[in-house]
């Protein structure tokens, strides 16, 4: 069981790091939002799942509560993270930031 927990933690850490790397490497706001949101949400899911599995299997008396808390944090992150990214992307477009080397921009044509 320890192997499973450590594997989950490792996968989560790797994907979180990928998100941070994407934040540095991509050229403009929209692509950065892509990388940051997808990777950190996915990585955090794995990390929190690792904690939940640990709580269920080895947590002792309070382990169940630990698992429930981890799942709740997971649900909140899944609800709020994409919404915040959407709000930021929309705000960036409205404040006049052009997509980097865009081949097509239908939202600009609409205005």
């Amino acid at each position: 069981m320890n192997a499973l927990i450590y594997a989950l933690l490792a996968v989560g850490t790797v994907f979180n790091g990928l998100g941070a790397l994407a934040l540095i490497r991509f050229p403009d706001v929209y692509t950065r939002i892509h990388g940051a949101t997808k990777c950190t949400t996915f990585g955090s899911i794995f990390s929190l799942l690792g904690v939940a599995v640990y709580g269920i299997w080895q947590g002792g008396g309070m382990g169940g509560t630990m698992a429930v808390r981890a799942f709740l944090a997971l649900i909140f992150l899944l609800l709020t993270n994409p919404t915040g990214s959407h709000a930021l992307a929309r705000a960036a477009h409205r404040s006049g930031i052009k997509p980097f080397r865009a081949v097509v921009d239908r939202l600009e044509e609409k205005k």
Binding site: L79, T80, T83, H86, A87, R90
Partner: protein, 150 residues
């Protein structure tokens, strides 16, 4: 804001209020208490403010100021309960019955009716902080919006 943000805010505002109430309610058992829970619930009000418009919350302003005064007065009244001993003494703790079974040593969640006046004071301070911080954010948002009377 867009339709996505508004729908998620509709879902999360009751959750935030319930979570704030949970933090206040368990102030004497787990970390948290009146101030913290009130801040969480006030953040739910701030979420309404930002997802919809400030005018949505304008009718609540009188209620908020009433709640703040009520919380302050209730806090002092609960403090006066211990006047036989000292001010703020927890007179009814461990009395048995409705208020206050004595507790075991160590964390034991789930026994809500322990510790006498503490939960009541938590609720008073929680309502006060909720109303105070909420009305501060509301006043900031309403300032300079149109010519109507505030």
């Amino acid at each position: 804001m867009s339709v996505v943000v508004r729908t998620i805010a509709r879902m999360l505002v009751p959750v935030g209020l319930v979570f704030g109430a949970y933090v206040i309610m368990h102030g004497h058992l787990t970390p948290g208490g009146g101030f913290q829970g009130g801040a969480v619930a006030a953040s739910a009000l701030a979420l309404i403010l930002v997802s919809f418009s400030a005018k949505e919350l304008k009718p609540v302003k009188g209620l908020l100021s009433a709640l703040e005064s009520t919380g302050g007065v209730a806090f002092v009244v609960f403090a006066f309960l211990g006047i036989g001993f000292t001010f703020f003494a927890n007179a009814i703790a461990g009395m048995g019955g409705l208020f206050g079974q004595p507790v075991d040593y160590g964390p034991n969640p789930g026994y809500l009716n322990t510790s006498g006046t503490l939960p009541l004071m938590n609720w008073a301070v929680g309502l006060k902080v909720l109303a105070g911080l909420g009305s501060v954010v509301l006043l900031f948002a309403l300032f300079g919006e149109g010519e109507d009377d505030r």
